[in-house]
Symmetry: C2
Subunit: 247 residues, 2 copies
């Protein structure tokens, strides 16, 4: 394989399809192919890297199973944009009065630019001096608050959001991040825990103090694996359900 084709020198001890996979990831992270755009065809990649199409397919297979790419027969191979809209439905089941699933609307209650706690600073790999944007918002269904969210963003990447009028924040933040700040969420890690509602959370969510609350901590990262959003979401435990398959 022609080493000169690679963005950075690959580790020759790895199989070619792994080296190829890594190079494709770095090209995607560099923005060479935008989300939902087709990447080079398998034949082109095989020629470019001087490997057979079978090897190209194996590299792409890995990225498809990682959720980075999707293939469509006859059309091409595409950079996948994760569908985080529905990510809450992974944990919470929200239905309107008539039983239809609904996506909650959002309202930002507070925004401040402050030094983050040490926990959040480390999770976001921020320098000690760097400030963060802190958003507090609620999510509502038919006027009723169902979720309470705390969001932390490194100021350096999200400067625009430090001054954006609060009423211009949308229900979904990730499209906003992409449009205004050129930040695309590629993956996330979530941790679930159960708490008993504090007086403050209870009054926000309209539940009794001490009743169970699900807390989802999420760290979202870009295609290069660098974390850039820290978020905690709290909701009443009775709207919660999660399903896992084990093998």
């Amino acid at each position: 394989m022609n080493t000169a084709s690679f963005a950075s020198k690959p580790d020759d001890r790895l199989p070619r399809y792994q080296q190829l996979r890594d190079d494709l990831v770095s090209r995607i992270a560099a923005g060479e192919w935008a989300p939902e755009k087709a990447i080079a065809t398998e034949a082109e990649l095989g020629q470019f890297y001087n490997v057979s199409t079978g090897t190209v397919r194996k590299a792409i297979d890995l990225l498809v199973s990682d959720g980075v790419l999707t293939r469509t027969q006859g059309k091409g191979t595409f950079v996948r944009r994760p569908r985080f809209d529905s990510s809450l439905f992974r944990f919470f089941r929200f239905v309107s009065r008539d039983g239809q699933p609904v996506r909650p609307t959002a309202r930002v209650l507070k925004r401040e630019v402050v030094k983050p706690s040490e926990e959040i600073r480390i999770a976001l790999q921020m320098k000690a001096s760097e400030k963060a944007i802190h958003l507090s918002r609620v999510r509502l269904i038919e006027g009723r608050t169902v979720l309470s969210e705390e969001i932390w963003l490194p100021r350096a990447r999200f400067d625009v959001l430090a001054t954006l009028p609060l009423d211009q924040f949308e229900d979904l933040l990730y499209p906003l991040y992409e449009r205004l700040c050129k930040q695309v969420v590629a993956s996330a890690t979530e941790i679930l825990r159960v708490e008993q509602a504090t007086a403050e959370t209870a009054s926000l969510l309209g539940i009794k103090t001490g009743s169970p609350v699900i807390v989802v901590h999420r760290v979202a990262s870009d295609f290069a694996g660098a974390p850039f959003e820290w978020r905690s979401t709290r909701g009443a435990a009775d709207t919660f359900q999660y399903q896992v398959e084990i093998r």
Copy 2:
């Protein structure tokens, strides 16, 4: 591909590697290769089914990613036995007084042979007349009850357990199922919810009535996908944590 090689007639509209995959699953389900025993080599399978080794590899790839098989270079391809021992650690973090992770011991409190509820009967695909074995047991760490479990088994498959002395039940039931009843767990589905402790659960777990409790409902199935164990596990929510990666 030689159709006569197949246990049941495969669907010719499917790719060969899919047909092959399905036939391997049915041979595993039929017990042709025991758990932790090597299956036929790739070359043998290619000859037997009259396909190339690349196609055999693709079929095996699918089963490996399904968790049914594992491959070891130089040794062979093996039927995988899921490690359910640690399945509780997926949700609950148990540590002993000195901070080491521990596996709780178990004690069966009650056993009865009764007609199951409609919910459980349907989940286990049992006939209306069939009876079930119901076990109530607790799991303990250093003498303290940390989990409370209700287990339902179809009597037909688990007759031996209807009369086994209660003190001969072991901490882990799945090895017992396999040894005494020839039932091997191949996969399971688990659903998590949060409840507030009833007085009974609270006294079992040594927590306050109304404090949050995690409930894990599990349906375990054999290699053929037939469910044969229904189980619910309750534990205090403060021992709970779960982590997910999203892409």
